[in-house]
């Protein structure tokens, strides 16, 4: 791996960028879970952004991998025990509350009429 723009290098960089984006997204949601009040959240969110921006220009693949692993470990350590999840999403309070009844079921309105009436 000479650092030139070979396909493997670019593929690995792209995978790393995706990991960073997903990590940033989860960390931001987690920050919102911890800091519910908006003014606190804005403060913490800009601190988080600063941390990500500080290492923006690192080029070495192994250093980047190590930093992503550290970031994910920090995220795992700081995860909120009771995060806010939208009610209808998995983990939310309304998830599978009213499942769709199986198809083909109908109510037959025969009002107790019997076959020999």
């Amino acid at each position: 791996m000479s650092g030139a723009s070979t396909a493997a290098y670019l593929a690995r960089r792209a995978a790393q960028k995706e990991r960073v984006r997903i990590l940033y997204r989860r960390a931001l949601k987690d920050t919102l879970n911890w800091a519910v009040h908006r003014h606190l959240f804005y403060q913490d969110a800009s601190d988080l952004r600063e941390k990500f921006e500080a290492h923006k220009h690192v080029e070495d693949l192994d250093t980047i991998d190590k930093m992503i692993a550290e970031g994910e470990a920090t995220y795992n350590k700081w995860r909120h025990p009771d995060p806010y999840i939208v009610p209808w999403a998995p983990g939310g309070s309304k998830f599978t509350r009213n499942p769709v009844p199986p198809s083909g079921i109908e109510i037959v309105y025969d009002y107790g009429r019997e076959n020999n009436d």
Partner: protein, 126 residues
């Protein structure tokens, strides 16, 4: 399913009769805000509403120039934003429409077009 059709045919909801009488293209938006439909039958967002709200969210992002925002704009190419800014905008959209977008899908939303399409086709968009 048959019972549901039976019930819907025989219950008069104010929303159903109002939209049946005469076509009101614009005030339907205002009527919607003041009139609450008690069924979840036709309760989907209209495309203009989705577009308006998405553009509002994008325009109120501090690093964005509001005059450049159109429904076709690409966040990173046209507005000159960062990939992390992209993540922030998607989070703002999730909060606006009370959605929960899976991580892989959220990573793919790159432009206003995709965002509007995704939200419009989402069954639980609020």
């Amino acid at each position: 399913m048959a019972m549901r059709a039976f019930v819907l045919r025989h219950i008069q909801l104010p929303g159903q009769t109002l939209t049946a009488t005469g076509s009101k293209p614009h005030p339907q938006w205002y009527l919607r805000a003041s009139l609450r439909l008690f069924s979840s039958h036709d309760d989907h967002l209209t495309k203009e509403e989705v577009i308006d709200r998405v553009l509002d969210v994008v325009k109120s992002f501090p690093k964005v120039d509001p005059s450049k925002v159109t429904p076709d704009v690409h966040f990173q190419k046209d507005l000159g934003l960062d990939s992390l800014d992209n993540v922030e905008i998607v989070m703002g959209l999730e909060e606006e429409f009370k959605l929960e977008i899976p991580d892989k899908e959220a990573d793919r939303i790159d432009s206003c077009n995709l965002a509007i399409e995704y939200i419009y086709n989402h069954p639980m968009a609020g």
